[in-house]
Assembly symmetry: C2
């Protein structure tokens, strides 16, 4: 295809890295571990943001913005949080540079040392709960349902575009409630919102569940998650929602007067998804020819490519193309007409395949004679010649078909790659063979979980929400177990 | 009015600070100089973002995202840029914390010192042009029309909410062009886009012009700006757009092969507006009772307040209120129905005045009898009783009237506070009297500009785009001048 893309079977990881760069989604920058999100990649992220933001608002949340910097001491206030987050992070120690005395350039001014170091936020629970203390006095001030779109920094040693970068973009919801029940309901609700977003817009099926204690967010009493399965059989955690109990309220002394006049600590949740979703999107649908985008999130759902010789033919084709573009736009379809004379049709076909535009319309001289166009869908490479006056109904139907088809294909893949096993031998065989989710009994101890992880690199992705009560015995220890959990190797 | 707001005449600066906090727009955080933008303030900013983003896209720009951190050495590459930006800034020197050996908490790990310090971006020209070098080879790759929505940090010593904060939110456009003419046209276009946004959506009249050489952006050959006038007679720079010549292309070695096959340096622009616009919005329209918002940017354009005794009356009023809310929403109006039983109507009236909701509808028992409602507009406190079935047309008309009225009022204020003077005595008299813009002849030298600034604190806000050719003599030096420029004290 002329794209020089490594095939997935040859080296999945290499394929991914190449695809992200070649499809103009993102690239590495001159700053270690920090990526540049290119316009095409950012346009997909913007569409994700748009849908999520709408869903957050429909469930009563409002956006706000909290400081990028967090005083070091804030992290020490919540005991388990500090271990999870205050270690590998960017530390601001000075606030001024100056010209070097020897003229060699600019240097940090030693006189401008901060009294207390500032941490570039790896997550904002601490600074937000420090703020909520000022916002909450009475039950009348509750609930607080706030979300923030922001950049965060975690000093990861091994980075990969979108999947693990030192800086990434995300949203973090932080809510405050009068009761435990309400906070739990909120955390659960947001897991469902995330699942709905992933399935309906990303066409990525997810398993909803809870994390084991050792996989929980630092400071949470319960972590709800959605887990997706990538084409290489590895799982990817696509979103988490945490019930934080009263931990942060106690750490930051946030109390409210209840209706009954009693002083009580506030109940908290936090929840987030990040640019990591881009990785999930790419690794769920794409193929050896490039990106495949679900129409709901594709910046351009349709591209029209003219095939012509000379100005005159281009003018004639363009007239038809502009009419189609206008009609499709009127029907709510995002259409690009690429009439650049700097590139040939073949190059364009290849380019839009690489970039995953769901539907391509080509119009050539023969089509002009016949009053037709050629319509090609990216997901299964099917082509058809249809009459001009059927383009709108055809395309709108196709977009829906593609959206559903991608989801169904991903569900089918996941079904084929979800295996129930009953022994550790079988577990390892599946894990190192076809991979995917492995449904197995576990004795519920962190010790067994850790040993399996050490021996096989598989982790418990979640205890599925719909896990049936089923008496069994742990594949590792043989001890009794009441339900199966999902294991997998994971991103 | 029970708001305990300092009056503007008493202390304008205090009035502003109190209003920002009491109207729930923003507040100081535990981090020096960094603000928390509260949900109500952020909702206004989101509306600004939405309109601006649409305007940027309509003029062909796409969004992207570049790293927060910039290696120190990047700043040294463009000589004038480094002096302007690489001084008062947040410097990341370490990437890890650890538990103190004496158990006293967490400390910076001295082993995790970065080889090269990272600067938290004060503006992104350097990191972006380092990226553009990889994106640009040929004239086919041009123009690049990219915008970024981001947070930036400048270590300001004296901070004020929205107007000057260590961290603020903004957008920064960075474009690359094949020719000088195209780059200048882009920089000018964006000044016009900003002016249109300010006048149409913010209802803030602005003067378009260019900055003097000493007021230019560090690294620019020309800085275009829009200048607004606040109620206290001080000017506020509301947006800038820079023609950067080939400075950054040369500093970062960004060359392209022209159509003619020659290797040339790329031409650049950059342009930005920030959360500072919130300050301009507040200080243009608001009064001693609180915020006044132009309907275009008001999160809630209308609030409906029920007046009732007991559940039964509330139910009856609510029925009417919900119907009105639905009808207004269908007409595209943003309406809040505040039926909270935790606060009394008087409290709500005062609250929404403080928050600047343009139109208030009150429905009480008498209205229920008569099939009427009371409509009050925030800007001039006019009240009217009108029939239920006229609410939609009345309100939509009112919103337009208010939007235009606010703009006209601001234009009138500016006209009254723009004074042409012909001597330095007169200049100082006006400056220290009624304030505002002062239109005066200037000899064009940085020396005179600096002396006037030292002696009076007034700066040249801009050389207005529409300044007429007019022979005159500099008010300070008496030397010849070809046109008047605008002076003012400024935020």
């Amino acid at each position: 295809m002329g794209k020089n893309l490594t095939s997935r079977s040859e080296d999945y990881s290499k394929w991914y890295n190449e695809l992200v760069v070649k499809a103009d989604l993102a690239e590495n920058s001159g700053v270690r571990g920090s990526m540049v999100i290119k316009p095409y990649g950012y346009a997909i992220w913007e569409r994700m943001q748009g849908e999520l933001d709408r869903m957050f608002k429909e469930t009563g949340h409002k956006n706000a913005y909290f400081p990028l910097f967090i005083p070091k001491s804030y992290f020490s206030k919540e005991a388990s949080h500090v271990d999870g987050f205050a270690k590998e992070c960017a530390v601001v120690t000075h606030y001024r540079l100056k010209n070097a005395e020897d003229g060699s350039g600019i240097v940090v001014d030693p006189d401008a040392k901060l009294e207390e170091e500032l941490i570039v936020r790896p997550t904002s629970e601490t600074i937000i709960w420090d703020t909520y203390r000022r916002w909450i006095q009475s039950y009348r001030d509750l609930p607080i349902l706030v979300n923030q779109w922001a950049n965060v920094v975690r000093w990861e040693m091994r980075t990969r575009l979108f999947l693990r970068t030192a800086e990434f973009l995300w949203q973090e919801g932080h809510t405050a409630h009068a009761t435990k029940e309400e906070a739990i309901a909120e955390a659960e609700q947001m897991m469902h919102v995330y699942a709905e977003f992933a399935e309906i817009f990303m066409a990525v099926p997810v398993v909803k569940g809870t994390k084991t204690e050792s996989e929980r967010f630092a400071g949470a009493l319960e972590t709800y998650c959605i887990e997706a399965l990538m084409q290489d059989g590895k799982a990817l955690q696509a979103g988490t929602s945490h019930f934080l109990g009263q931990n942060f309220a106690k750490a930051f002394d946030v109390q409210f007067t209840s209706k009954e006049g009693k002083l009580e600590y506030v109940w908290a949740t936090s929840w987030g998804v990040s640019t990591r979703l881009m990785g999930a999107l790419i690794m769920t649908h794409s193929d050896d020819n490039g990106l495949i985008l679900p129409p709901s999130l594709a910046p351009d759902q349709v591209v029209i490519v003219p095939i012509y010789k000379g100005e005159e033919q281009l003018a004639a084709v363009s007239e038809v193309a502009h009419k189609l573009q206008a009609d499709l736009r009127a029907a709510g379809v995002r259409v690009l007409y690429d009439d650049r004379d700097t590139h040939r049709p073949g190059w364009k076909f290849s380019e839009y395949e690489l970039k995953g535009v769901p539907v391509r319309i080509a119009i050539g001289p023969k089509d002009m004679e016949n009053g037709t166009v050629e319509i090609a869908r990216r997901d299964i490479f099917k082509k058809e010649i249809i009459a001009n006056d059927q383009v709108v109904s055809k395309v709108t139907g196709l977009l829906e078909e593609i959206q559903n088809g991608l989801y169904d294909r991903a569900v089918a893949y996941r079904s084929e790659h979800t295996t129930a096993v009953n022994s550790y031998e079988e577990f390892k065989e599946v894990l190192n063979g076809k991979g995917g989710f492995i449904s197995a009994h576990w004795d519920g101890t962190a010790e067994t979980e850790e040993r399996i992880k050490q021996e096989t690199k598989a982790t418990i992705r979640c205890i599925p929400l719909d896990a049936k009560e089923e008496a069994g015995s742990c594949i590792y220890s043989g001890k009794p177990s009441a339900r199966r959990v999902l294991f997998a190797k994971a991103y």
